[in-house]
């Protein structure tokens, strides 16, 4: 195994609210290896975004607080870095693609200016001409037609898909070594999603950046990710490479997620959701956080009482946090049709 570019250990992030302390991220640990795409899946509120935002120092503090943990990046702990040092890394070695291209671009600034924001901030001496040339090149790379004209336009003159392309161009402007894509296709319609996928792949190839892909779209994961982390209630419940996870999931939550997807191949009248609600992050159930909704637990005392640790299956790199994972032997995940299938 090569050295990980980013190594997160036991990260705990909480938010103080009027109702109590919300444990948004509860002790997650994972590594990101050079050049790979790591998918993080989970429901809304499972801590996917918060876990990565806290790396960049982008969660508001207060009410947010990083309780403990470390995030080693280029030999330094991102969580203990001074604001100034962190700023030097943001947009330079560690870049982010935001979820909603409609609100993530400043409406009064030209696209070209915003794309080169990161270049200008990190290279104060850069000439306007050179920056603009770079913006044109980046727009061309992400497939915006007529880039020479487009750099001088404003966000309202861009369609949603074009804006997301611009956001990607913005993120890769400084050739980051880690790229975080926070639900990059959620705000787009399906046909555009497929195009953006291609752009993302291309951007990744071009910069050779290790990518963290945060999404709740399993199709996107199947299409793009090399390894998958499944999160539930602020915890990592399953880790494995993408084929293993889809072929033989070993956590009931992962299986539930896959089952809940409608399939185009089978005539079905009803969706099969996971019963119940994600637990309140203020008062977690004791034991396994998933046990009230789990088809395996069925009143087993161990699930209620003992929190399952993340443990390897068959001594492989496939990890699961379920006491009874062995009982899932032979279960296959339903075939998921990738979003970009056929393109």
């Amino acid at each position: 195994m090569p050295e990980p570019v980013l190594s997160i250990k036991d990260l705990v992030v909480e938010f103080r609210t009027e109702d109590g302390v919300v444990q948004a991220v509860d002790g997650i640990t994972y590594d990101l290896y050079p050049g790979e795409t790591l998918g993080i899946v989970g429901e809304s509120g499972s801590g996917k975004s918060v876990s990565t935002m806290s790396l960049l120092g982008l969660i508001p503090q207060p009410p947010g607080r990083i309780v403990r943990g470390e995030a080693m990046f280029q030999g330094k702990d991102l969580l203990k870095m001074s604001k100034k040092d962190l700023r030097r890394i943001r947009g330079n070695d560690l870049a982010m693609i935001f979820q909603d291209p409609m609100t993530s671009l400043n409406p009064v600034l030209k696209i070209g200016f915003q794309i080169t924001e990161a270049i200008r901030t990190h290279n104060p001496g850069v000439k306007d001409d050179a920056a603009k040339q770079r913006a044109v090149g980046l727009l061309k790379l992400v497939g915006v037609p007529n880039p020479e004209r487009r750099v001088d336009q404003y966000p309202h003159e861009f369609s949603g898909g074009m804006r997301q392309r611009a956001m990607i161009a913005m993120a890769i402007a400084n050739e980051p070594s880690v790229l975080i894509a926070d639900e990059p296709t959620t705000a787009l319609d399906v046909t555009i999603q497929a195009q953006i996928l291609e752009v993302l792949k291309k951007a990744q190839q071009e910069t050779e950046a290790a990518t963290i892909l945060i999404t709740h779209d399993l199709g996107l994961i199947a299409e793009l990710a090399d390894r998958v982390i499944v999160m539930y209630a602020g915890k990592v419940v399953e880790v494995g490479d993408v084929n293993t996870i889809f072929a033989s999931p070993r956590h009931p939550y992962t299986i539930g997620l896959m089952d809940s997807l409608p399939k185009l191949t089978a005539p079905e009248e009803w969706l099969r959701p996971i019963p119940g609600q994600p637990p309140s992050l203020i008062s977690r159930p004791p034991g396994c956080p998933f046990h009230p909704r789990c088809f395996l637990s069925q009143g087993r005392a161990r699930c209620r009482e003992e929190e399952p640790p993340l443990r390897p299956i068959d001594e492989s790199a496939h990890l699961t946090a379920c006491h009874f994972a062995e009982e899932l032997e032979g279960r296959t995940g339903h075939l998921v049709e990738p979003v970009g299938a056929g393109t």
Binding site: G91, M96, P107, V108, Y154, E157
Partner: protein
């Protein structure tokens, strides 16, 4: 039958052979984009400024006011070329003379030409007004910006200071200050006024920064590595420029009015430098029958302040981003 079974190699939307048919072979990779450029379907792009300018120029009252204002201020700026006499030149043949061909606005009791004094007075008043507009905008933007961007205790502290300034009885403070500072030069007076009336701009900028702070593009800029100062200057101020410009404009009007009030009460700009308020003051000392000494400077003040307010209104409408509609 054979004619119907012939391979259709054209995708026909309209009648066969019509202009709507398109051969699939020539379909470009991104048909919509290609068509757009090929047939010039794209609407000519306009920047926010272009929209604003267009809306402003369609606002007749505001445009008219702007022209009148430019003429009046221009007359003040070029007073040394336009004025028929120096503002201190005494004509002993025409003491307290009525308006005539020689002295269009008449003369005062010392035989000085009223028109010339009004022109120079405009120059003084405009200078005070614009200086106050700029200074108070800068002070207000800095204070409001810091308060809105950082929030928390910084916001609390700065806004309580702002409240303190807002509660001061303006006129009383100005009179006391003027009394201590003695008769003042236009610059000194402008500094004093700017120091007292930046509060409104501070509140506007704070409110706007508070909401901008939560926008995703600010977060995106942070993620790109932009620092606080850069975010405030490059991302937030351009988004607030509309309200700032409007209120700066209105501040100029307020400042000119305040300067007139102070000078009228005898605490303003030191004679013999003519200022519009000082001219009013001199005029009223010389009796009701010398109507021309009060009327002309008075009209000029009213017209200036009215025009500034109309221009401000026009700018407010023009710079409101929710108004895409252009007045017809």
């Amino acid at each position: 039958m054979s004619s119907e079974s012939g391979v259709r190699d054209e995708l026909t939307i309209g009648p066969p052979g019509s202009q709507y048919s398109m051969s699939p072979a020539e379909g470009p990779s991104d048909p919509s984009a290609e068509l757009t450029y090929q047939y010039g379907l794209e609407v000519e792009a306009r920047s926010q400024w272009a929209y604003a300018r267009r809306r402003f120029f369609r606002h007749r009252l505001a445009l008219g006011s702007l022209i009148v204002l430019l003429l009046i201020f221009g007359a003040g700026v070029f007073a040394n070329f336009l004025a028929p006499y120096s503002y201190t030149q005494i004509n002993l043949d025409a003491l307290s003379a009525k308006p005539s061909a020689h002295h269009l606005f008449g003369t005062d009791s010392a035989g000085r030409d009223s028109l010339s004094r009004v022109l120079y007075g405009i120059r003084t008043s405009a200078r005070v007004g614009i200086l106050v507009g700029v200074l108070s905008t800068v002070i207000g933007t800095i204070i409001g910006g810091l308060a809105g961007y950082y929030g928390g205790w910084a916001d609390n502290l700065l806004m309580r200071v702002t409240d303190l300034f807002l509660t001061l009885p303006l006129l009383a403070v100005l009179l006391v200050a003027a009394k201590y500072l003695g008769h003042s030069t236009p610059t000194k007076l402008a500094l004093l006024l700017a120091f007292l009336i930046w509060t409104q701009i501070a509140r506007i900028v704070r409110g706007s920064f508070l909401s901008l702070r939560e926008k995703e593009f600010v977060e995106a800029a942070k993620a790109a590595g932009a620092g606080d100062v850069r975010i405030m200057l490059r991302h937030m101020i351009p988004n607030t420029i509309g309200p700032i410009v409007v209120s700066a404009t209105l501040t100029i009007g307020t400042a000119i009015l305040l300067e007139a009030v102070l000078s009228f009460l005898g605490f303003g700009i030191e004679p013999p430098t003519p200022a519009l308020g000082a001219l009013l003051n001199e005029g009223q000392d010389q009796g009701i029958d010398k109507w021309w000494l009060v009327t002309f400077p008075g009209i000029v003040i009213v017209v200036i302040v009215l025009c500034i307010n109309f221009v401000g209104d026009g700018l407010r409408d023009a710079l409101d981003p929710t108004q895409r509609r252009v007045r017809t």
